[in-house]
Protein backbone atom coordinates (compact mmCIF):
# COMPACT_ATOMS: atom_id res chain seq x y z
CA UNK A 1 0.00 0.00 0.00
CA UNK A 2 2.66 2.42 1.06
CA UNK A 3 4.69 1.51 -2.01
CA UNK A 4 1.77 2.40 -4.26
CA UNK A 5 1.40 5.76 -2.58
CA UNK A 6 5.11 6.43 -2.86
CA UNK A 7 5.09 5.43 -6.51
CA UNK A 8 2.05 7.53 -7.26
CA UNK A 9 3.82 10.50 -5.73
CA UNK A 10 7.32 9.95 -7.06
CA UNK A 11 6.48 9.28 -10.70
CA UNK A 12 4.74 12.55 -11.50
CA UNK A 13 7.39 14.49 -9.60
CA UNK A 14 10.07 12.75 -11.58
CA UNK A 15 8.36 13.52 -14.87
CA UNK A 16 7.85 17.16 -13.96
CA UNK A 17 11.48 17.43 -12.99
CA UNK A 18 12.47 15.88 -16.28
CA UNK A 19 10.33 18.20 -18.33
CA UNK A 20 10.71 21.49 -16.50
CA UNK A 21 13.71 21.52 -14.22
CA UNK A 22 16.37 19.59 -16.12
CA UNK A 23 18.64 21.74 -18.27
CA UNK A 24 18.60 21.55 -22.07
CA UNK A 25 21.21 19.32 -23.65
CA UNK A 26 23.78 20.94 -25.92
CA UNK A 27 23.74 18.60 -28.93
CA UNK A 28 20.39 16.88 -28.84
CA UNK A 29 18.07 19.66 -27.67
CA UNK A 30 14.68 18.97 -26.14
CA UNK A 31 14.17 15.37 -27.34
CA UNK A 32 16.91 14.15 -25.01
CA UNK A 33 14.45 14.50 -22.10
CA UNK A 34 13.06 11.10 -22.91
CA UNK A 35 16.29 9.79 -21.38
CA UNK A 36 14.66 10.33 -17.99
CA UNK A 37 12.08 7.68 -18.85
CA UNK A 38 14.13 5.47 -21.14
CA UNK A 39 17.12 4.85 -18.87
CA UNK A 40 15.17 4.20 -15.65
CA UNK A 41 12.93 1.82 -17.58
CA UNK A 42 15.94 -0.13 -18.82
CA UNK A 43 17.39 -0.36 -15.32
CA UNK A 44 14.06 -1.44 -13.86
CA UNK A 45 13.41 -4.01 -16.59
CA UNK A 46 16.81 -5.66 -16.14
CA UNK A 47 16.37 -5.55 -12.37
CA UNK A 48 13.00 -7.26 -12.73
CA UNK A 49 14.42 -9.99 -14.92
CA UNK A 50 17.27 -10.55 -12.51
CA UNK A 51 14.70 -11.07 -9.79
CA UNK A 52 12.90 -13.53 -12.06
CA UNK A 53 16.15 -15.38 -12.67
CA UNK A 54 17.06 -15.64 -8.99
CA UNK A 55 13.51 -16.61 -8.03
CA UNK A 56 13.45 -19.25 -10.78
CA UNK A 57 16.67 -20.80 -9.53
CA UNK A 58 15.32 -20.72 -5.98
CA UNK A 59 12.11 -22.34 -7.16
CA UNK A 60 13.86 -25.19 -8.95
CA UNK A 61 15.99 -25.87 -5.90
CA UNK A 62 13.43 -25.49 -3.12
CA UNK A 63 10.12 -26.04 -4.97
CA UNK A 64 8.51 -23.40 -2.79
CA UNK A 65 5.59 -21.81 -4.57
CA UNK A 66 6.35 -18.33 -3.32
CA UNK A 67 9.45 -18.23 -5.50
CA UNK A 68 7.45 -19.26 -8.52
CA UNK A 69 4.93 -16.50 -7.87
CA UNK A 70 7.69 -13.96 -7.45
CA UNK A 71 9.34 -15.04 -10.68
CA UNK A 72 6.10 -14.81 -12.63
CA UNK A 73 5.05 -11.46 -11.19
CA UNK A 74 8.46 -9.93 -11.71
CA UNK A 75 8.57 -11.13 -15.31
CA UNK A 76 5.17 -9.56 -15.99
CA UNK A 77 6.06 -6.20 -14.52
CA UNK A 78 9.52 -6.33 -16.08
CA UNK A 79 8.04 -6.95 -19.51
CA UNK A 80 5.91 -3.82 -19.15
CA UNK A 81 9.00 -1.75 -18.44
CA UNK A 82 10.92 -3.40 -21.27
CA UNK A 83 8.06 -2.57 -23.63
CA UNK A 84 8.35 1.01 -22.47
CA UNK A 85 12.07 0.90 -23.28
CA UNK A 86 11.38 -0.38 -26.80
CA UNK A 87 8.75 2.31 -27.35
CA UNK A 88 10.70 5.27 -25.94
CA UNK A 89 13.90 4.24 -27.69
CA UNK A 90 12.68 4.76 -31.25
CA UNK A 91 10.87 7.95 -30.22
CA UNK A 92 14.22 9.24 -29.00
CA UNK A 93 16.14 7.78 -31.88
CA UNK A 94 14.18 9.21 -34.78
CA UNK A 95 14.83 12.92 -34.10
CA UNK A 96 18.33 12.34 -32.75
CA UNK A 97 19.82 9.63 -35.01
CA UNK A 98 17.45 9.96 -37.95
CA UNK A 99 16.34 6.34 -37.72
CA UNK A 100 13.58 4.55 -35.78
CA UNK A 101 15.68 1.47 -35.32
CA UNK A 102 19.11 -0.02 -35.91
CA UNK A 103 20.45 -3.49 -35.30
CA UNK A 104 23.25 -2.56 -32.98
CA UNK A 105 24.12 -4.70 -29.97
CA UNK A 106 22.04 -3.05 -27.25
CA UNK A 107 18.83 -2.70 -29.24
CA UNK A 108 19.10 -6.22 -30.62
CA UNK A 109 19.67 -7.66 -27.17
CA UNK A 110 16.76 -5.73 -25.67
CA UNK A 111 14.44 -6.80 -28.47
CA UNK A 112 15.36 -10.47 -28.26
CA UNK A 113 15.04 -10.35 -24.47
CA UNK A 114 11.53 -8.98 -24.97
CA UNK A 115 10.73 -12.05 -27.08
CA UNK A 116 12.24 -14.38 -24.52
CA UNK A 117 9.95 -13.02 -21.85
CA UNK A 118 6.98 -12.89 -24.18
CA UNK A 119 7.57 -16.60 -24.71
CA UNK A 120 7.91 -17.07 -20.96
CA UNK A 121 4.57 -15.39 -20.32
CA UNK A 122 2.89 -17.37 -23.10
CA UNK A 123 4.29 -20.57 -21.64
CA UNK A 124 2.92 -19.69 -18.20
CA UNK A 125 -0.47 -18.99 -19.72
CA UNK A 126 -0.68 -22.19 -21.73
CA UNK A 127 1.17 -24.93 -20.00
CA UNK A 128 -0.22 -27.47 -17.61
CA UNK A 129 0.96 -28.44 -14.17
CA UNK A 130 4.55 -28.77 -15.37
CA UNK A 131 4.33 -25.12 -16.32
CA UNK A 132 6.06 -23.61 -13.33
CA UNK A 133 9.15 -25.75 -13.73
CA UNK A 134 9.31 -25.28 -17.50
CA UNK A 135 8.92 -21.53 -17.09
CA UNK A 136 11.69 -21.46 -14.49
CA UNK A 137 14.03 -23.21 -16.93
CA UNK A 138 13.14 -20.77 -19.71
CA UNK A 139 13.78 -17.81 -17.40
CA UNK A 140 17.14 -19.21 -16.34
CA UNK A 141 18.29 -19.97 -19.86
CA UNK A 142 16.93 -16.63 -21.09
CA UNK A 143 18.76 -14.67 -18.46
CA UNK A 144 22.06 -16.47 -19.07
CA UNK A 145 21.53 -15.83 -22.77
CA UNK A 146 21.63 -12.05 -22.45
CA UNK A 147 25.42 -11.63 -22.45
CA UNK A 148 25.69 -14.12 -25.32
CA UNK A 149 23.14 -12.27 -27.41
CA UNK A 150 25.03 -9.08 -26.74
CA UNK A 151 28.31 -10.72 -27.73
CA UNK A 152 26.92 -11.98 -31.02
CA UNK A 153 25.32 -8.64 -31.82
CA UNK A 154 28.59 -6.80 -31.12
CA UNK A 155 30.28 -9.09 -33.57
CA UNK A 156 27.81 -7.96 -36.16
CA UNK A 157 27.66 -4.21 -35.53
CA UNK A 158 27.35 -1.24 -33.11
CA UNK A 159 25.75 2.25 -33.17
CA UNK A 160 24.05 2.91 -29.78
CA UNK A 161 25.53 5.96 -28.05
CA UNK A 162 28.59 5.12 -26.00
CA UNK A 163 27.52 4.69 -22.39
CA UNK A 164 27.57 7.99 -20.54
CA UNK A 165 26.11 6.92 -17.22
CA UNK A 166 27.20 3.34 -16.67
CA UNK A 167 30.90 3.59 -17.39
CA UNK A 168 33.89 2.39 -15.48
CA UNK A 169 35.14 5.94 -14.87
CA UNK A 170 31.81 7.12 -13.48
CA UNK A 171 28.93 9.02 -15.04
CA UNK A 172 29.64 11.68 -17.64
CA UNK A 173 26.39 13.53 -17.15
CA UNK A 174 26.48 16.95 -15.49
CA UNK A 175 25.33 16.85 -11.88
CA UNK A 176 22.03 18.60 -12.50
CA UNK A 177 20.95 15.98 -15.03
CA UNK A 178 22.35 13.10 -13.05
CA UNK A 179 20.35 14.01 -9.95
CA UNK A 180 17.08 14.07 -11.87
CA UNK A 181 17.98 10.84 -13.62
CA UNK A 182 18.68 9.12 -10.34
CA UNK A 183 15.46 10.43 -8.86
CA UNK A 184 13.52 9.00 -11.79
CA UNK A 185 15.35 5.72 -11.45
CA UNK A 186 14.34 5.51 -7.83
CA UNK A 187 10.76 6.43 -8.74
CA UNK A 188 10.61 3.70 -11.38
CA UNK A 189 12.05 1.09 -9.08
CA UNK A 190 9.54 1.98 -6.38
CA UNK A 191 6.80 1.67 -8.99
CA UNK A 192 8.12 -1.74 -9.99
CA UNK A 193 8.17 -2.88 -6.37
CA UNK A 194 4.64 -1.60 -5.86
CA UNK A 195 3.29 -3.51 -8.86
CA UNK A 196 5.31 -6.56 -7.93
CA UNK A 197 3.87 -6.69 -4.43
CA UNK A 198 0.33 -6.30 -5.72
CA UNK A 199 0.82 -9.04 -8.28
CA UNK A 200 2.41 -11.52 -5.89
CA UNK A 201 -0.36 -10.97 -3.37
CA UNK A 202 -2.93 -11.46 -6.13
CA UNK A 203 -1.44 -14.82 -7.07
CA UNK A 204 -1.29 -15.91 -3.44
CA UNK A 205 -4.95 -15.07 -3.02
CA UNK A 206 -5.83 -16.85 -6.22
CA UNK A 207 -4.27 -20.10 -5.06
CA UNK A 208 -5.93 -19.77 -1.66
CA UNK A 209 -9.32 -19.43 -3.32
CA UNK A 210 -8.46 -22.31 -5.60
CA UNK A 211 -7.63 -24.56 -2.66
CA UNK A 212 -10.67 -23.50 -0.65
CA UNK A 213 -12.89 -24.27 -3.62
CA UNK A 214 -11.64 -27.81 -4.22
CA UNK A 215 -13.37 -30.67 -2.41
Amino acid sequence: MILLVLAAAALPIGILLALLVAPVEAFQGEPYRILYIHVPSVVTAYLAFTVTFVASVAYLITRRVRFDRLAAASAEVGQVFLTLVLLTGPIWGKPVWGAWWTWDARLTTALILWFIFAGYLMLRAWSGAQGARAAAVVAIIGFLDVPLIHWSAVMLRTLHPRPTVFRAEGPALPASMLVILLFNMAAFIVTYLAFLTVRVRQEAMRSEIGEAGSP
Binding site: S127, L148, M155
Partner: protein, 216 residues
Amino acid sequence: MSAFWVILRKDLVVEGRARDLLPSMAILALLLLAMTGATGLRADAAPAILWITVAVAGSIGLVRSFHQETDQEQLHGLRLAAVDPAMIYLAKAAANFLIVAAVELIAWGAVMIFFDIPIPRRPAALAVVLLLGTGSLVAMGTLLGAMLATARMREALLPVLLLPLCAPAVMAAAGATARLLSEAGGPVAGELRLLLAFTLLFVSVALLVFEHVIED
Protein backbone atom coordinates in the same frame (compact mmCIF):
# COMPACT_ATOMS: atom_id res chain seq x y z
CA MET B 1 25.12 -46.31 -22.49
CA SER B 2 23.12 -48.98 -24.27
CA ALA B 3 19.94 -47.11 -23.36
CA PHE B 4 21.25 -44.30 -25.53
CA TRP B 5 21.52 -46.52 -28.60
CA VAL B 6 18.18 -48.18 -27.96
CA ILE B 7 16.32 -44.87 -27.73
CA LEU B 8 18.22 -43.40 -30.67
CA ARG B 9 17.51 -46.40 -32.83
CA LYS B 10 13.85 -46.43 -31.79
CA ASP B 11 13.31 -42.81 -32.75
CA LEU B 12 15.01 -43.28 -36.11
CA VAL B 13 13.12 -46.48 -36.85
CA VAL B 14 9.80 -44.83 -35.97
CA GLU B 15 10.56 -42.02 -38.38
CA GLY B 16 11.80 -44.46 -40.96
CA ARG B 17 8.47 -46.27 -40.87
CA ALA B 18 6.23 -43.22 -40.69
CA ARG B 19 8.26 -41.18 -43.18
CA ASP B 20 6.13 -38.15 -42.37
CA LEU B 21 8.36 -35.87 -40.35
CA LEU B 22 11.38 -35.54 -42.59
CA PRO B 23 9.42 -34.91 -45.79
CA SER B 24 7.24 -32.27 -44.07
CA MET B 25 10.22 -30.46 -42.66
CA ALA B 26 12.11 -30.62 -45.92
CA ILE B 27 9.20 -29.37 -48.01
CA LEU B 28 8.60 -26.50 -45.60
CA ALA B 29 12.28 -25.54 -45.72
CA LEU B 30 12.36 -25.66 -49.52
CA LEU B 31 9.15 -23.66 -49.70
CA LEU B 32 10.48 -20.93 -47.42
CA LEU B 33 13.63 -20.67 -49.48
CA ALA B 34 11.72 -20.66 -52.74
CA MET B 35 9.36 -17.95 -51.60
CA THR B 36 12.12 -15.73 -50.26
CA GLY B 37 13.88 -16.04 -53.56
CA ALA B 38 10.68 -15.42 -55.48
CA THR B 39 9.90 -12.32 -53.44
CA GLY B 40 13.25 -10.78 -54.27
CA LEU B 41 15.63 -11.67 -51.47
CA ARG B 42 19.20 -10.93 -52.56
CA ALA B 43 21.91 -13.55 -52.45
CA ASP B 44 23.85 -11.83 -49.69
CA ALA B 45 20.90 -12.36 -47.35
CA ALA B 46 20.80 -16.07 -48.17
CA PRO B 47 22.86 -17.24 -45.16
CA ALA B 48 20.48 -15.50 -42.76
CA ILE B 49 17.42 -16.94 -44.42
CA LEU B 50 18.99 -20.41 -44.43
CA TRP B 51 19.40 -20.40 -40.67
CA ILE B 52 15.95 -19.00 -39.95
CA THR B 53 14.52 -21.65 -42.26
CA VAL B 54 16.40 -24.45 -40.51
CA ALA B 55 15.21 -23.18 -37.12
CA VAL B 56 11.57 -22.94 -38.17
CA ALA B 57 11.46 -26.19 -40.14
CA GLY B 58 13.43 -27.88 -37.38
CA SER B 59 10.86 -26.76 -34.82
CA ILE B 60 8.29 -29.05 -36.41
CA GLY B 61 10.43 -32.08 -35.73
CA LEU B 62 11.44 -30.91 -32.29
CA VAL B 63 7.85 -30.50 -31.15
CA ARG B 64 7.13 -34.04 -32.20
CA SER B 65 10.07 -35.67 -30.52
CA PHE B 66 8.45 -35.62 -27.09
CA HIS B 67 4.82 -35.27 -27.93
CA GLN B 68 4.79 -38.70 -29.45
CA GLU B 69 6.00 -39.94 -26.10
CA THR B 70 3.00 -38.61 -24.26
CA ASP B 71 0.48 -40.29 -26.47
CA GLN B 72 0.77 -43.65 -24.79
CA GLU B 73 2.82 -42.60 -21.82
CA GLN B 74 6.00 -43.98 -23.30
CA LEU B 75 7.95 -41.48 -21.27
CA HIS B 76 6.66 -43.03 -18.06
CA GLY B 77 7.79 -46.38 -19.34
CA LEU B 78 11.27 -45.03 -19.91
CA ARG B 79 11.41 -43.57 -16.42
CA LEU B 80 10.12 -46.76 -14.83
CA ALA B 81 12.81 -48.69 -16.62
CA ALA B 82 15.24 -46.56 -14.58
CA VAL B 83 16.84 -45.04 -17.64
CA ASP B 84 19.16 -42.18 -16.77
CA PRO B 85 17.33 -38.99 -17.78
CA ALA B 86 20.56 -37.63 -19.22
CA MET B 87 20.64 -40.60 -21.59
CA ILE B 88 17.07 -39.96 -22.66
CA TYR B 89 17.96 -36.37 -23.44
CA LEU B 90 21.17 -37.21 -25.30
CA ALA B 91 19.53 -39.95 -27.33
CA LYS B 92 16.60 -37.74 -28.28
CA ALA B 93 18.96 -34.91 -29.11
CA ALA B 94 21.06 -37.21 -31.27
CA ALA B 95 18.03 -38.46 -33.18
CA ASN B 96 16.77 -34.90 -33.64
CA PHE B 97 20.20 -33.84 -34.78
CA LEU B 98 20.30 -36.45 -37.53
CA ILE B 99 16.86 -35.50 -38.76
CA VAL B 100 17.46 -31.73 -38.65
CA ALA B 101 20.89 -32.16 -40.25
CA ALA B 102 19.27 -34.03 -43.11
CA VAL B 103 16.80 -31.17 -43.59
CA GLU B 104 19.64 -28.70 -43.42
CA LEU B 105 21.63 -30.45 -46.12
CA ILE B 106 18.61 -30.34 -48.38
CA ALA B 107 18.09 -26.66 -47.54
CA TRP B 108 21.74 -25.94 -48.19
CA GLY B 109 21.56 -27.53 -51.61
CA ALA B 110 18.51 -25.42 -52.41
CA VAL B 111 20.24 -22.23 -51.25
CA MET B 112 23.23 -22.92 -53.49
CA ILE B 113 20.97 -23.38 -56.46
CA PHE B 114 18.36 -20.69 -55.83
CA PHE B 115 20.88 -18.01 -54.97
CA ASP B 116 23.69 -19.13 -57.23
CA ILE B 117 26.25 -19.48 -54.48
CA PRO B 118 29.70 -20.54 -55.70
CA ILE B 119 31.43 -23.59 -54.22
CA PRO B 120 32.69 -22.53 -50.80
CA ARG B 121 36.43 -22.01 -50.60
CA ARG B 122 36.66 -23.12 -46.99
CA PRO B 123 34.45 -26.18 -46.76
CA ALA B 124 35.94 -27.40 -43.48
CA ALA B 125 35.19 -24.17 -41.62
CA LEU B 126 31.74 -24.08 -43.18
CA ALA B 127 31.08 -27.65 -42.08
CA VAL B 128 32.04 -26.77 -38.50
CA VAL B 129 29.71 -23.76 -38.55
CA LEU B 130 26.85 -25.89 -39.88
CA LEU B 131 27.51 -28.59 -37.29
CA LEU B 132 27.72 -26.26 -34.30
CA GLY B 133 24.79 -24.13 -35.41
CA THR B 134 22.57 -27.16 -35.90
CA GLY B 135 23.86 -28.67 -32.68
CA SER B 136 22.90 -25.56 -30.73
CA LEU B 137 19.40 -25.45 -32.18
CA VAL B 138 18.84 -29.14 -31.53
CA ALA B 139 20.30 -29.08 -28.01
CA MET B 140 17.95 -26.29 -27.00
CA GLY B 141 15.03 -27.54 -29.07
CA THR B 142 15.14 -31.04 -27.57
CA LEU B 143 14.96 -29.59 -24.08
CA LEU B 144 12.12 -27.29 -25.09
CA GLY B 145 10.30 -30.20 -26.71
CA ALA B 146 10.39 -32.04 -23.41
CA MET B 147 9.21 -28.98 -21.52
CA LEU B 148 6.35 -28.30 -23.88
CA ALA B 149 5.16 -31.87 -24.31
CA THR B 150 1.96 -31.21 -22.35
CA ALA B 151 1.48 -27.52 -23.13
CA ARG B 152 -1.27 -26.08 -25.27
CA MET B 153 -0.16 -24.31 -28.44
CA ARG B 154 3.11 -26.22 -28.29
CA GLU B 155 3.55 -26.06 -32.07
CA ALA B 156 3.60 -22.27 -31.91
CA LEU B 157 5.35 -22.02 -28.55
CA LEU B 158 8.38 -24.05 -29.53
CA PRO B 159 9.69 -21.77 -32.29
CA VAL B 160 8.61 -18.73 -30.24
CA LEU B 161 10.90 -19.90 -27.45
CA LEU B 162 13.58 -21.57 -29.56
CA LEU B 163 14.50 -18.62 -31.78
CA PRO B 164 15.15 -15.98 -29.11
CA LEU B 165 16.88 -18.44 -26.79
CA CYS B 166 19.10 -19.60 -29.65
CA ALA B 167 19.57 -16.11 -31.04
CA PRO B 168 23.29 -15.96 -30.28
CA ALA B 169 23.90 -19.23 -32.12
CA VAL B 170 21.72 -18.32 -35.09
CA MET B 171 23.29 -14.87 -35.35
CA ALA B 172 26.83 -16.19 -35.06
CA ALA B 173 26.16 -19.02 -37.51
CA ALA B 174 24.53 -16.72 -40.06
CA GLY B 175 27.34 -14.18 -39.74
CA ALA B 176 30.02 -16.81 -40.10
CA THR B 177 28.25 -18.47 -43.04
CA ALA B 178 27.91 -15.11 -44.79
CA ARG B 179 31.58 -14.33 -44.31
CA LEU B 180 32.69 -17.76 -45.48
CA LEU B 181 30.64 -17.43 -48.65
CA SER B 182 31.59 -13.85 -49.47
CA GLU B 183 34.20 -12.78 -51.97
CA ALA B 184 36.36 -11.12 -49.34
CA GLY B 185 36.20 -13.98 -46.85
CA GLY B 186 37.68 -13.28 -43.45
CA PRO B 187 38.21 -14.87 -40.06
CA VAL B 188 35.33 -16.61 -38.37
CA ALA B 189 37.20 -17.55 -35.20
CA GLY B 190 35.05 -15.23 -33.08
CA GLU B 191 31.80 -16.74 -34.29
CA LEU B 192 33.12 -20.27 -33.89
CA ARG B 193 34.16 -19.50 -30.33
CA LEU B 194 30.71 -18.17 -29.53
CA LEU B 195 29.00 -21.15 -31.16
CA LEU B 196 31.15 -23.56 -29.20
CA ALA B 197 30.56 -21.71 -25.94
CA PHE B 198 26.85 -21.61 -26.58
CA THR B 199 26.56 -25.29 -27.46
CA LEU B 200 28.60 -26.41 -24.45
CA LEU B 201 26.79 -24.09 -22.07
CA PHE B 202 23.35 -25.12 -23.11
CA VAL B 203 23.98 -28.82 -23.37
CA SER B 204 25.27 -28.60 -19.78
CA VAL B 205 22.22 -26.65 -18.64
CA ALA B 206 19.96 -29.13 -20.43
CA LEU B 207 21.65 -32.11 -18.78
CA LEU B 208 21.28 -30.42 -15.39
CA VAL B 209 17.61 -29.53 -15.62
CA PHE B 210 16.28 -32.28 -17.87
CA GLU B 211 15.18 -34.66 -15.17
CA HIS B 212 13.31 -31.90 -13.33
CA VAL B 213 11.53 -31.04 -16.50
CA ILE B 214 10.15 -34.49 -17.31
CA GLU B 215 9.04 -35.61 -13.88
CA ASP B 216 5.51 -34.81 -12.79
